[in-house]
């Protein structure tokens, strides 16, 4: 798998390692020899215990942190799309002086691309995010979960080819969370972005993904990559099927064995 030569491979990670220096002069190893090929249009979920380096992995792909060793390559090489990469951060990171609508329009504003179409899309997103009545409110008038939804909408507005999502549903209640997952799948189905989706919920990871990357506790290595060969479009009812249960169990066992090994 790591040495896949797929022509439609959009991200290739080759033996990525990441060492963080600590204040006391030592180092923390966050990632150890992570290799992965991501195909175009693939939805990949990443699960792993807290602190195993999931955020670090996304940050390196995004170019916000520099790996200690290893390589990240994007392909196909002729792809010079401006919005190649977009990220939903673990915190909402909204700009407090911008209304919800204007926060959604952050990326179009930066690229001087605000027009009728972007406004219409922002309206659509507000509805999808369940925030249609909050377009003109300021972030400090919103709950944590609502702010996080705006953060998701802002990344969708950016419309990247590759969407990196770091626990985007972390602050949402179970019901909103399910609905947002299904909405995300709908959007993904429209233009088949490549999605890397970090989550702590195994059922959520399985419900959304083509493949689930399971990581070990620190230092983060790939325990396994689990194929999710369930038919699409996925529905919430899928969760109750035996096939689904099997995959969830398999991932849970992988995580458990890795935990007890440490």
């Amino acid at each position: 798998m790591p040495t896949s030569t797929d022509t439609d491979c959009v991200i290739r990670l080759d033996s990525l390692s990441m060492l963080y220096p600590t204040k006391s002069g030592g180092t923390v190893q966050a990632l150890d020899d992570v290799s992965l090929s991501v195909r175009a249009g693939e939805f990949i979920s990443i699960v792993g215990p807290s602190g195993c380096g999931k955020s670090t992995l996304l940050r390196i792909i995004m170019g916000l942190s520099r790996q200690t060793s290893g390589q990240v390559t994007f392909g196909p090489s002729d792809d010079t799309h401006r919005n190649q990469l977009g990220m939903v951060f673990q915190q909402p990171l909204l700009l407090p002086w911008r209304t919800v609508r204007k926060n959604l329009l952050t990326s179009p504003d930066l690229h001087h691309a605000r027009d009728a179409a972007t406004h219409a899309k922002a309206d659509e997103l507000l509805v999808m995010l369940g925030l249609e009545e909050f377009g003109d409110r300021y972030p400090n008038e919103l709950s944590g979960g609502m702010q996080q939804r705006v953060g998701i909408g802002r990344a969708l507005m950016h419309d990247p080819r590759i969407l990196l999502m770091d626990e985007p549903f972390g602050a949402l209640d179970a019901m909103t969370r399910d609905q947002m997952g299904l909405d995300l799948l709908k959007i993904w189905d429209q233009d088949r972005k490549t999605v890397l989706f970090v989550t702590h919920s195994i059922p959520e990871a399985v419900l959304l993904a083509d493949r689930v990357v399971v990581m070990t506790p620190r230092p983060g290595r790939l325990a396994d990559v689990v194929e999710v060969a369930l038919p699409r479009p996925r529905r919430l009812e899928n969760i109750n099927t035996p096939e689904f249960g099997e995959i969830v169990l398999k991932i849970r066992k992988l995580l458990d064995s890795e935990h007890s090994a440490h």
Partner: protein, 278 residues
Amino acid sequence: MSTQTLEAPANSDTLVRGRRRRVPEITYSVLVFIGLLVVWQVVVTMFDISNILVPAPTAVAGSLVDGFQDGSLLTHSVVTLKEILVGFGIAVGSALVAAVLITQFRAVERVLFPLLILTQTIPKVAMAPLLIVWFGIGISSKVLTVALIAFFPLLINAILGFRSAAYEQVEMLRSFGASRMQVMRHLQIPSALPHIFAGLEVAVILSVTGAVVAEFVGSSEGLGYLIQASNFTLDVARTFAVIVVLSAIGIALHAAVVQLGKWLVFWTATPTDTAGEV
């Protein structure tokens, strides 16, 4: 039964507190102030204190009215106000430019910052006599004294402000393809505003002090000059009148800055703040 007895005092307590809040707190301040004026007036008349030591409030009021009627208070106020506004403006402009340069360019920071820390320890009013020697007895020496005094608190706060944006926010904007200028405009400038206004509030009051001190050192017009002139003629009531005018100028300028700040930095008014006022 027991719950009722528990509830009753709690209820009446909130009622009392609610009723008390109907009267704006400023009412009490005004009443106390008037009370002090009355005591002052009574003490001065009862003990027949000399007008050249402590004039009665009525004498100060009389002097105020006279001063505005013969035009002297107004013309001198205009001079001082001009010194304050021009000096303050220069300080604001140069402090903001310096803060941007220092926070945007490491080299500038390395060279300038230690020097700024050093010069910050100099008592700026001590420079006023020098500025008079260099720039003469006219308005420019006063303007420069004001600018010098107002500059440092503004600069320090502006530097803090431009650095206050969370690193994650910068990364967020960069991830959407923002240029350095765009990060500045969309993030660093708005995040700096609350700090800049904190600096402005301090600086505007210091500006009034700066203008008066510079006029003390050497001048032929302005409210500081008027204080010295009336002290010389033992017209203490006039001195008090000028102090009243100076305070009024300070309060008005400060209020203007606060109001502008509230208007520009609207997002820091959190729901809890407003709840506290209800």
